[in-house]
């Protein structure tokens, strides 16, 4: 068990390292060019472009830290509005992986269902792992995200069009195995449909009364 945990942690570190290299390091390099450009040609447009670039990098760093820390970004309140937290998560994903198309549909549109912070951090750990798995390993070009509030439960579905995987052979380091245990402790259900080359569909059903 210890060995497994260590392996997962190493995988995570490798992932983070690669991500920092692929995003921030490349962006800083292009920022260097932008600055050199200002030096040669101090036009206001060039300055504006550079400021935008800095802002882009700032957002990226912030989103990476959100995605890879286990804290919820909205930590000042006791209750967490599910919709807002999910939207924030997608914004973070979009900052880090801007090449993916994110579509989300919340129903009812003004759903304001909120859950306690403890449970939210649990639920979000799970959702984050699922989404990160899709964007980091799934090679998807789009993700569809729905949250539908019913009388008794909340159904969250995450559908990507990536490479999918053989669900009988769960990939290492993703923690999919643990997810079901965690969901069950919340009296919920989690199911994963995936087939190689046909994307992945994840369904989370959470009983409102247990949230």
């Amino acid at each position: 068990m210890k060995k497994q945990e260590l392996k997962i942690r190493n995988e995570e570190r490798k992932k983070l390292g690669r991500l920092l290299h692929d995003t921030i390091s490349n962006d800083l390099m292009s920022l260097q060019f932008f600055l050199a450009n200002i030096k040669d040609n101090p036009k206001s447009e060039n300055v504006k472009d550079t400021i935008e670039k800095v802002d882009f990098i700032r957002r990226q760093v912030r989103s990476i830290s959100h995605l890879y820390s286990n804290e919820l970004p909205t930590s000042s309140q006791d209750k967490v509005v599910l919709k807002k937290a999910l939207k924030d998560l997608l914004i973070d994903c979009a900052n880090v992986h801007p090449d993916i198309i994110y579509n989300y549909h919340f129903f009812p549109k003004k759903t304001s269902f909120s859950i306690s912070k403890d449970i939210a951090s649990e639920v979000f750990m799970i959702i984050k792992e699922l989404v990160l798995n899709a964007v980091n390993h799934g090679q998807c070009s789009s993700i569809e995200f729905t949250l539908t509030e019913h009388e008794q439960e909340i159904i969250i579905m995450i559908i990507d069009d990536g490479i999918g995987f053989d669900i009988t052979k769960l990939p290492n380091g993703i923690g999919l195995k643990n997810i079901n245990e965690r969901i069950q402790s919340l009296k919920g259900k989690c199911s994963i449909d995936s087939r190689i080359n046909y994307g992945t569909t994840i369904t989370l059903e959470l009983l409102k009364s247990s949230l």
Binding site: N103, F107, E144, M157, D161, S191, D193, R195, T201, E205
Partner: protein, 223 residues
């Protein structure tokens, strides 16, 4: 060329006729009708219409019945469908009718003009966003990049996948049949179904069908 436009939204019809008369010039003669029945009357009077452009959701005789009837009488007529709603079921029915262009109403007038000017080429003119429905159906073909175009997504907050599932539901397919088509378990289809009912405000597939019928998203089967 003689063009007949059939459309029950009068304001839309008048605007379109004005625009086309301006752009097409004197080579084209445009007439219009606001129902399937009056369109057929025009066909009874004038035999020389070459192009029929019609909405599908019409009072009285609906669009595809009109097309069928007109094609029977004038096999060489060119047909353009202009519609607000579309589904896989409608598209496959239209494919059988061998129409020449399929346009959705959110396109620009220039695109409508373009379709008319190219009506004699042998290619079927299809609005970009629904090209996927004419191919074998996969998520990526269905024009996922064009979010917010679809009326159903806007009004009912349905996702692309939910629309895909809904199209299969109204073909009266079971959860496991749908699952086989989109490569998910029947349990997952069940969740989709639950969400779709909730969003559409119905409790069963019959009520869903009735609602979609009233919106013109599906058509009454013609027997």
């Amino acid at each position: 060329m003689k063009l007949l436009i059939v459309e029950d939204h009068i304001a839309f019809l008048e605007g379109l006729v004005d625009f086309l008369e301006n752009k097409l010039g004197s080579d084209w003669v445009i007439s219009s009708a606001s129902s399937g029945t009056s369109a057929l009357q025009i066909f009874n009077q004038k035999h020389s219409i070459n192009v029929l452009m019609t909405d599908l959701n019409l009072p009285g005789i609906n669009g595809s019945e009109l097309i069928k009837e007109v094609k029977n009488r004038h096999p060489k007529i060119k047909v353009i469908v202009l519609t607000m709603y579309y589904s896989r079921a409608i598209v496959s029915r239209l494919k059988e009718l061998e129409i020449d262009a399929f346009l959705t109403k959110n396109i620009t007038r220039e695109e409508i003009l373009d379709a008319l000017l190219n009506i004699n080429s042998n290619e079927v003119f299809i609005t970009e966003e629904i090209k996927g429905l004419f191919k074998d159906y996969h998520m990526e073909d269905a024009g996922l990049h064009q979010e917010n175009i679809d009326v159903f997504i806007r009004v009912y907050s349905l996702s692309r996948r939910e629309i895909e599932v809904m199209d299969l539901m109204i073909d009266n397919k079971s959860n496991s049949e749908i699952g086989e088509e989109i490569f998910v378990s029947s349990e997952t289809v069940k969740s989709h179904r639950k969400n779709i009912y909730k969003k559409m405000g119905v409790n069963n597939v019959l009520d869903l069908y009735k609602l979609l019928l009233s919106k013109g998203y599906v058509e009454m089967p013609t027997h």
